[in-house]
């Protein structure tokens, strides 16, 4: 065995690097299956597995000093801290960690959204195991991987990214967050306590959001935002 070089970063390695994988899926069974598949490969190793955004961020933070790590994120985590929220957080806080999104959505907008929020690639779950494993390796090289998608999706995906940009450029992160929580049908007071701000602040945010989206009220605003893919409603 070679002696690893000392160093705080832990990034210096003498052996051909193994790619470390963080496996994230809303369904633990799927996560376990993906883990088995990955672990069977000599050059890939699962470092952590998670089924919620919190768990994932914890793992990412813990492994942040390691190089050669890829996060494989299923797009099926729902709720306020859903997969897209997670992707945005990873992208903001750990810009160098490559993310491969995996989804089963039949809609190009889901791909647009994943890319816009910050994944490096998207793999449709219909892709075969070899394609999946190769996609992890390519993502580790920071290649943009799009697999399992019809080739004529490029144009709608690009258009979807433009739509995302258009909407996101109207609302600040905080406003998007308020709108996401509001979409769960909470009162202003409940939203406030959820986000740790005063009720008054929430109503100010909401009225600004309505104005920016040209909406007449909460239902209208949520409807418009959901249709454009800016927020996703629970259970969708």
């Amino acid at each position: 065995m070679q002696t690893p070089m000392p160093g705080e970063s832990g990034e210096l390695r003498l052996l051909p690097p193994t790619i470390g994988v963080i496996v994230v899926d809303g369904f633990p069974v799927v996560g376990a299956a993906l883990t088995l598949l990955i672990e069977a490969e000599p050059d890939l190793k699962v470092l952590a597995s998670a089924s919620s955004a919190r768990e994932t961020l914890e793992a990412v933070r813990r492994l942040s000093r390691r190089s050669g790590v890829v996060a494989v994120v299923g797009l099926n985590i729902e709720g306020e801290e859903n997969s897209y929220w997670l992707i945005r957080r990873i992208r903001d806080d750990f810009p160098r960690l490559p993310i491969l999104a995996i989804g089963s959505n039949g809609d190009p907008m889901a791909v647009s959204r994943a890319l816009f929020f910050g994944t490096d690639g998207y793999l449709h779950k219909s892709a075969g195991p070899e394609v999946f494993l190769e996609a992890i390796r390519r993502t580790a090289q920071r290649e943009v991987v799009l697999e399992g998608l019809p080739s004529d999706w490029l144009v709608p995906i690009a258009e979807g990214i433009d739509v995302q940009k258009e909407w996101a450029s109207r609302l600040t992160d905080r406003e998007q967050q308020v709108l996401t929580v509001a979409a769960q049908g909470l009162t202003a007071r409940q939203i406030g306590s959820r986000l740790g701000v005063r009720e008054r602040t929430v109503t100010t945010h909401l009225s600004r959001i309505y104005k920016k989206l040209g909406a007449e009220g909460r239902v209208h605003a949520i409807d418009r935002a959901a249709r454009s893919g800016l927020i996703s409603l629970r259970g969708q």
């Binding site: 816009f116 910050g118 490029l154 144009v155 690009a158 990214i161 992160d173």
Partner: protein, 226 residues
């Protein structure tokens, strides 16, 4: 617009390139082809658009780097018209962004000028028959560019969301080259207020000078360079 494709009819081709040599070469090859007819040639984008709208060719052979309107813009406008003309891009540019943009504006094929004339003629034929002419490598390049495209969209959205509507107005006027005083006049505010807005914009764009602000804004696609 009535479909004018008659299966047995000849393929009507319009050739656009600012280099006369390339035009002549493609034109000659088409004229020697029994089922092709060259209906026109253009050396710049504006002329290309005008001729294409008037002549409605079956195939437009389009260079990208041409004066007055670039090829992508020509294609975009034809797409907006709902034009039935199929576009074969023929260019020396083989970068990811060009391939991506060509696909986005609905080009039917992408040929490189380094290809042999037989290949180019075959590509015109294929495009006329409704076949898409993109290589696997070109599709891969376009996909790869999607990542960059998304990243840029994200950065732009982030900066835009941080600007107030008023600051966006001010940035638009900076882009038009107006002085602080002119901006203040245009927006009916004091010079002092305009200065404050400009200061805030600089901070949000993380720049120190007006020139830097312009470059940054252009890079983010917030303002367009004409």
């Amino acid at each position: 617009m009535l479909p004018m494709m008659n299966e047995r009819s000849r393929t009507r081709v319009l050739i656009v390139d600012d280099h006369p040599m390339i035009r002549q070469m493609v034109s000659l090859a088409c004229r020697n082809h029994p089922r092709m007819e060259v209906v026109g040639e253009a050396s710049n984008g504006a002329e290309a658009l005008e001729l294409c709208r008037r002549l409605r060719p079956d195939v437009l052979v389009l260079d990208l780097l041409i004066p007055r309107l670039d090829g992508i813009e020509v294609a975009r406008r034809l797409q907006e018209d709902g034009s039935a003309t199929r576009i074969l891009v023929l260019t020396g540019a083989d970068d990811k962004a060009s391939v991506f943009e060509a696909l986005r504006v609905g080009a039917a094929g992408y040929g490189e000028k380094t290809a042999s004339i037989e290949h180019i003629v075959a590509a015109i034929e294929a495009v006329a028959d409704g076949t898409k002419v993109f290589t696997v490598e070109q599709e891969r390049q376009a996909h790869e560019h999607l990542g960059e495209f998304a990243r840029k969209a994200r950065d732009t959205a982030k900066v835009l969301a941080s600007l107030t509507p008023r600051e966006r107005d001010v940035l638009g006027l900076i882009a038009e080259g107006l002085s602080t005083r002119q901006i203040a006049n245009r927006l009916r505010m004091s010079e002092r207020t305009a200065e404050t807005h400009i200061g805030n914009i600089y901070q949000k764009l993380q720049v120190k000078t007006r020139l830097q602000a312009l470059y940054r804004a252009a890079g983010l696609g917030l303002v367009t360079r004409e």
